[in-house]
Amino acid sequence: MSVASTTPRFKDNVHDALNDQRLQGALPHAKNFIAKRADAAVRLPEFEALRDSARAIKDHTLAHLDLYLEAYERKVVEAGGHVHYARDSEEAVDIILGICKARDAKVVTKGKSMVSEEIGLNAALEREGINAVETDLGEYVIQLRGEAPSHIIAPAIHVTRDDIEADFRRAHRDLAPDRDLSQPEQLLSEARAILRDRFLSADVGVTGANFLVAETGTSIIVTNEGNGDLTQILPKVHIVLATLEKITPTLNDVAQILRLLGRSATGQDMSVYTTLSTGPRRAHDPDGPEEYHVVLLDNGRSATLGGPFAEMLRCIRCGACMNHCPVYHAVGGHAYGWVYPGPMGAVLTPLLIGVAEGGQLPNASTFCGRCEAVCPMRIPLPKLMRRWREREFERRLTPPMARAGLRLWAFFAKRPTLYRLAVEPAMRALGRVGRRRGRFAWLPFAGGWTRWRDFAAPQGATFQSRWRARSGAVK
């Protein structure tokens, strides 16, 4: 079982989010990435060519994933590491708990990892009495708040500076109550001091991976705070938790995709740290873990290969799609109800928890297409969301009233003569009723519209009837 979702209650979540003044005050931050990404893309003449190239690299890798996985595993083992395959969340959690228990771990530090959210790792560790400590600043903040990330690269984007100050005063009770925390730098240095102790006391460090390199058996993480490095270098055991599609053939391939990742995510040419790890510490290494484990999670990815949603596996988790999404901007990430928000979440969530549970998300899109326009991997997100709607329609999961309404409309739309007979008198009547005000504040069966907006009255006779009258010929 993956972590529980509230996705079926998406509409309620939306309502709550829209009425949460604190959240609404924080949400505009997500828009800051838009101009930065646009500038970064313009500054790099080969940006569009790189998108094509990155897509080709991933498509090739996914078409030969079995070979690259074997090659990768061989290289990890050669470097002295261990590779564990996990079919689902439970297996991944069990493997990680097993490694932690073998070392009698008390404290586990964690680099930022959405996959660890997907498998509910923190809760599982806490259940075993192991203290899990998030070390990414944003993740640390939301861990204090008992929340999940609301954005895949900026997990605490829904939180304001004032919230963080209150959280720190509540959590760090051994510090002077009258200390000055009015500046962001003061919050940062307080978090840094607290986390420094945790880094030094950790028995195991868990990180995700942005890339797993088949050529060398290397795992790569991309961060801006350096917390990932301390998480994977200081403890005796480093566990890399990643899903199958992170495999990338060569370092050269990684270098190309990296040029897109930072620019698409935050508008940075490169993130501050790009850290490569290959196996445990060698005899002549100045530092590094004694044990190096890779937990390779499937959780539905292999079943997606070669199917109608396979293109989703190209995703490199940059967050550009949600940074540009009007729905995400309106309600934030938590409303989506599971781990992955925004357009990428709207495609991925039904794949991972089923369309019956996750089906709201691909429906809650205007298909404005901005996500596809900025996706560095050229994933046709609206098209994939539409595919989910087709699945729902085929399986009769579409709400019965909506389905009946659609079929009735389609019946007429396919029969122009009947359509004309039905709509022409209706429009004339509606036009007559609405002429005086020009619009309706309320209309039967249109409450979904008129509750929020006025509805323009038709001009009366339809264009086609007027056209026929004008040209004097009825077809």
């Binding site: 309106a330 309600v331 298909f367 404005c368 329609f393 122009p416 619009r439 979904g448 323009a456 086609q464």
Partner: protein, 263 residues
């Protein structure tokens, strides 16, 4: 050139009027006809209903295919098919071939059809080389880029270029003009509260321009934005860009009463 030769070289353009324009605002259809005729085209209006997008985007592929087949058939005799909507033109020009991906014969036919489909302002500027229109309209207008036209068909500069030639009209840029208005077809009703939150932001941006007129190339988006502006009591009038370009602004603006403006 004799008249019969002129008739032979004259482009036969099928107007895909779109279901919303057909039902709600025929003025946009007649404005489109005028613009196309002024540019020297022979305009025909084959019997039509809808492009099928509501079915396509609701996952009802079979009905979308059936409607697409009919539409392709109905416009068989036209050199070009032009729609006063980026959304419907996008459906015809980009999504019809996709609908028949599993039927090779039909896919070829759909691709041929799609290649001759255009959004109105893009057809006038890109295909016919129109650079100006003979129209007058006093006021300050803000233009909203509807999503499908902008991102599927590259409609951005064409309407602005033509609007710049309208006498008496000054055009101001709308902040976030390329951000969705929250319409999204059936989305506006299925997710009414969410749609409202998005259009409320759009309404704020429109009001901030100080423009007295909102223009766009899609009636669906316009009805959504006009409906919100009116509900909020804002004094901005919404019109389709074709009405202004054709100088057909005598009719009341979208959702405005008839009496008040009748001269």
């Amino acid at each position: 050139m004799s008249e019969s030769q002129a008739a032979k070289t004259q482009l036969r353009v099928g107007l895909f009027v779109t279901c919303l324009v057909d039902l709600f605002r025929p003025t946009i259809g007649f404005a489109s006809v005028k613009l196309l005729e002024d540019a020297g085209c022979k305009v025909v209006v084959p019997t039509q209903t809808c492009c099928g997008q509501p079915a396509f985007n609701s996952g009802d592929r079979a009905d979308a295919q059936a409607i697409a087949r009919r539409t392709i058939e109905a416009f068989a005799g036209c050199d070009y098919v032009v729609a006063p909507s980026g959304s419907c033109a996008g459906m015809l020009a980009r999504h019809y071939p996709e609908l028949f991906a599993d039927e090779p014969d039909m896919a070829v036919k759909a691709a041929g059809f799609s290649a001759k489909c255009f959004e109105l302002t893009s057809f006038l500027v890109d295909k016919l080389g129109v650079t100006s229109v003979a129209a007058r309209c006093s006021g300050v207008a803000a233009y909203h880029d509807s999503c499908s036209g902008l991102r599927e068909l590259g409609v951005r500069d064409q309407p602005r270029k033509l609007l710049a030639s309208v006498e008496g009209l000054s055009l101001v840029e709308l902040d976030e003009a390329d951000v969705c208005c929250g319409f999204g077809g059936t989305f506006a009703v299925k997710y009414g509260e969410l749609s409202d939150a998005i259009v409320a932001r759009k309404s704020d941006k429109i009001a901030a321009t100080g423009a007295d007129t909102l223009l766009a190339g899609d009636l669906g988006c316009l009805m959504n934005m006009a409906g919100k502006l009116q509900r909020q009591g804002r004094a901005v009038r919404a019109r389709h860009v074709a009405e202004v370009l054709a100088g057909m602004t005598d009719e009341p603006a979208i959702g405005e009463p008839t009496e008040a403006e009748v001269k």
